[in-house]
């Protein structure tokens, strides 16, 4: 029966079709998420960030009522643009139409087009009436492969298939809300190869649920079940995903959302228990408590060597590690906010029932070991008219410091500047934190980032950043302290609304162990990856959408390995039946010398699914998405 269900939704099953507007937003969020995908190779789901957008799409913000905190949830808006919108509403009174946004200083037609799906304009009274509606949504998604991959085939009579479960991916989600007061949801998921409906896994591998209440008065929010917590700049407490460097070069200030319901399927980036938010005038108090089982790689009799965060439980070994550690987190955060200043400070305590034992690998010598972690943190954001200062410092186990400081400046003439400094102790352990960083393993990293955004003339927008970073200790496959930099220069020319031509150059240089070296010493070599991207997007009328990308990468190791990569795709999307149905055809040709010159690119998928696969080798990929 289970198989029947999976096969019946063989490729894609959707009962809900959305309008073209979400497509525009999805395209914009692509730019934000693609760099993230290149660093978080084990990340199996980007829907967490995408879901936030979908939430806003389904419950658009009323501009006449939106606060700064509300607008900060829209990732396409810069801090400066948010200030200008609020300033406009304050000066001119409630908006009469959404198109009045074109009168707001600093909002380009492209930006307005991207944010319109998430905004609406209504009188405040009407809005309150609509808040009393009950709304529910259920989504079921199945995916499988027609061929049986090797991992699912029995090796021989005595050796079973490596993967213990079926090759189907199954996802189901139910969400309901009563106005803006009560929210409840349930999510379950099974990855390919994982078991479901078996004695070991009675339902599905990942089950998640929440109830969130937003009463009026002192208690602002209470969540029972799974939730995420994000504060400051991510150096102290930030579960879940967060944007890093991206093509919006000055978008480096994190916009923390406090506590919020969790409905994604990343199996380790959330807290499970109870959380509450209380407000008294300008003060807010957050209390969190979490208790859940997580995966750890067993080392010795009573300890673990590492915490596993890929969320996969497909093989017998992975099943042995499944939920074999108990994790507890408690904490409290206090914040104070005025129109121009926000200050917050907090304390968390993290504990597991099996200690992490010191590693025998030199690159892990300074890494965290033990079973408990105290984290104290404090942060601020200061909003002057053209200057925003922000920063955070966190102290782990009263000894290890993580520091992040930054500023953005809008001196005028459409120019925006950003500058930040980070310094994370090599003993830091970011198990419930996720600060701005170059590497996915952030301990021991320090760096300086500088970015600029400007428009030298009408219709042309330039973004550029330079990030210089150092590592105080060894890293995986880097057997000495190392350094590097990343540079990006991107120009986007808009012919008309929606028609854009993008040219991007990116150059990343870092040090690592010399490739294919078999000697007994461990020399470092400089590895440079450059890429040039040309991307053209053209919406022809209301029902056609064309997109073409050409990207070439160059991998060069100093006096060593070199390879080139090339990717080209043509994308045509057509909307039928008053935008209720769309068909997307993509043809991708990729030709890379090897994995070092691989190219990442976002691919169209069913609604609410966001994928950024890496292409390496030589091939042609044809994709039809209806």
């Amino acid at each position: 029966m289970k198989r029947l269900i999976a096969i019946s939704v063989l490729i894609i099953l959707w009962t809900v079709a959305r309008s073209q507007q979400l497509n525009d937003a999805g395209q914009a969020v692509t730019d934000l998420l693609e760099p993230l995908a290149e660093k978080q190779l084990t990340q199996k789901d980007y829907s967490e960030l995408f879901n936030d957008l979908v939430d806003m799409y389904e419950n658009p913000l009323n501009l006449n009522k939106a606060t700064k905190e509300d607008l900060e949830r829209i990732p396409f808006l810069t801090d400066r643009q948010i200030e200008e919108i609020l300033f406009y509403v304050y000066n001119n009174g409630p908006l009469l139409t959404i198109y009045e946004l074109s009168a707001v200083k600093g909002l380009s037609p492209e930006t307005i087009k991207m944010i319109i799906p998430f905004l609406k304009v209504e009188p405040v009274k009407e809005q309150s009436e609509k808040n009393k509606r009950l709304r529910a949504e259920a989504i079921f998604r199945g995916r499988t492969t027609l061929q049986t991959p090797l991992g699912y085939q029995q090796v021989n009579d005595s050796v079973p298939a490596p993967f213990t479960g079926s090759r189907d991916r199954i996802y189901a989600r139910v969400r309901a809300n009563y106005g803006n007061t009560l929210y409840a949801g349930f999510t379950m998921e099974k990855d390919p190869g994982e078991q479901a409906f078996t004695p070991q896994v009675p339902v599905m591998d990942f089950l998640s649920g929440y109830i969130m209440l937003k009463p009026k008065g002192f208690l602002k929010k209470i969540i029972i079940g799974d939730y995420k917590a994000s504060f400051g700049q991510g150096a102290g407490l930030w579960t879940g995903m967060a944007f890093t460097k991206n093509s919006v070069a000055t978008d480096i200030r994190r916009r923390a959302t406090g506590i919020d319901k969790y409905s994604s399927v990343n199996e380790n980036s959330f807290l499970r228990g109870i959380a509450a938010e209380m407000q008294l005038k300008s003060f807010r108090l957050f209390l969190i408590g979490s208790y859940k089982n997580i995966d750890g790689t067993i080392a010795g009799f009573s300890g673990i060597s590492s915490i596993r965060n890929d969320g996969y439980h497909r093989t017998r070994t992975e099943m042995e590690y499944r939920k074999n550690i108990t994790e507890k987190v408690v904490g409290g955060i206090v914040s104070w906010q005025s129109n121009s200043l926000k200050i917050e400070a907090g304390q968390t305590f993290w504990r597991i029932d099996k200690p992490i034992v010191p590693s025998r690998y030199p690159y892990k010598f300074p890494a965290f070991s033990g079973d408990s972690l105290y984290t104290s943190f404090a942060g601020y954001s200061l909003f002057a008219r053209k200057l925003i200062l922000f920063g955070e410092i966190s102290l782990q186990n009263f000894n290890n410091i993580a520091l992040y400081q930054g500023l953005t400046l809008s001196p005028g003439a459409g120019i925006q500047l950003a500058l930040s400094y980070r310094n994370y102790s090599k003993k830091c352990f970011f198990i419930t934190a996720n600060p701005f960083a170059e590497s996915s393993v952030m301990n021991g990293e320090s760096g300086i980032y500088a970015g600029i955004t400007f428009s030298p003339f009408e219709n042309l927008n330039i973004n550029s950043y330079l990030d210089v970073f150092w590592y105080k200790w060894l890293k995986y496959r880097t057997d000495a302290p190392s350094s590097g930099y990343e540079f990006l220069l991107q120009g986007v020319y808009s012919f008309s609304t929606g028609t854009t031509l993008l040219l991007r150059y990116r150059n990343r240089l870092k040090q690592g162990n010399k490739l294919f070296y078999t000697g007994n010493d461990f020399p470092l070599s400089t590895q440079k990856i450059s890429s040039v991207r040309l991307h053209f997007t053209y919406p022809a009328g209301d029902s056609w959408w064309f997109s073409t990308r050409i990207e070439q990468t160059f991998f060069n190791e100093e006096a060593g390995h070199c390879s080139k990569g090339f990717l080209l795709f043509f994308d045509v999307k057509h909307f039928f039946a008053r935008n209720r149905l769309s068909a997307d055809i993509r043809l991708t040709h990729f030709d890379t010398g090897d994995y070092y010159s691989r190219i990442y690119t976002w691919e169209p998928d069913v609604l609410y699914v966001f994928r950024v696969p890496a292409f390496s080798g030589n091939g042609l990929r044809f994709l039809l998405n209806i």
């Binding site: 028609t499 053209f536 064309f546 070439q552 080209l568 043509f570 040709h589 042609l620």
Partner: protein, 281 residues
């Protein structure tokens, strides 16, 4: 030995001793002189590259072209094409022959192109290939071409075409030889009525990409000047066009660093008009 003969024979078609799409080259004289940019071409010769450009032809016409790669007669190709615009779209036929008596490759093409609104044109083309070896044995293949041209503004055209997406092959007794799979994307910026600048990237599925750049300038209505450069090794080209009443004559020359000079000449006969529109490109 037989396989070697096939390869040598095919070189007459693909211009080099191995089958590479970079030289799957049916350029007309105009395209040759523009560094072989083709994706944004909008003339009767679009049928030899991006057939979507046929929608730029406003009246029925026929054209012939002769190309002599590196001035080696045995590699030369001869083409004749005709197009017929109608209210249902543009229909076009193409016949090209290349090679010599011991290895003669014929291409028969039929294309259908249509304009969708003001901003999009698209085309589909079917091609049959026959390869006659030693004057007796005939082997055949089939491939298609999909082309799109976009016109986002009055000064910018974008062209895309894919050749042999189905990855078909010519079947010989001992083996099958793939027909090159090509992905081509190009842009044409014409800031002035008389000036056009073109850039294009062409990627063979099996080989490194090639970059091409072309420039066209029309000093007087009767005269068209063209120049271009094509990827590595650098291939420089230039040419002229004469727009005489309903006849257009194009001559193009390109110089390859290693292989020498390629020359081409084309003649276009347009019906139902007094003078060909030399600014169609």
């Amino acid at each position: 030995m037989k396989f070697l003969l096939y390869i040598i024979a095919l070189s007459g078609f693909f211009h080099v001793p191995v089958m590479t799409a970079q030289d799957f080259n049916y350029s007309d004289a105009s395209s040759l002189s523009l560094g072989q940019v083709k994706a944004t071409e909008r003339s009767i010769f679009s049928v030899m590259a991006n057939p979507a450009g046929l929608t730029g032809v406003k009246s029925p016409g026929i054209a012939v072209s002769y190309v002599s790669p590196y001035n080696i007669r045995k590699l030369s190709s001869r083409s004749v094409t005709g197009t017929m615009p109608s209210q249902y779209g543009h229909f076009s036929l193409l016949f090209t022959q290349s090679g010599y008596s011991l290895s003669l490759l014929n291409r028969y093409g039929f294309s259908y192109a249509r304009q969708f609104g003001k901003h999009v044109s698209a085309a589909l083309m079917f091609n049959a290939l026959t390869h006659k070896l030693n004057g007796t044995e005939i082997y055949s293949g089939f491939f298609s071409v999909i082309g799109v041209q976009l016109f986002p503004s009055n000064t910018v055209d974008v062209g895309i075409y894919i050749q042999n997406i189905e990855q078909s092959k010519i079947s010989y007794p001992d083996q099958s030889v793939p027909i090159p799979v090509l992905y081509v994307a190009g842009i044409n910026w014409h800031p002035l009525t008389d000036l056009a600048l073109m850039a294009e990237i062409e990627k063979d599925q099996e080989f490194a990409p090639q970059y091409k750049f072309g420039m066209q300038y029309i000093p007087v209505d009767i005269l068209i000047l063209r120049g271009g450069v094509k990827g590595s090794p650098v291939d420089l080209s230039f040419g002229i066009g004469l727009n005489l009443s309903f006849i257009v004559i194009d001559i193009g020359i390109s110089y390859h660093q290693q292989l020498g000079v390629t020359s081409a000449a084309s003649l276009t006969l347009s019906l139902n008009r007094k003078r060909s529109n030399s600014r169609e490109r």
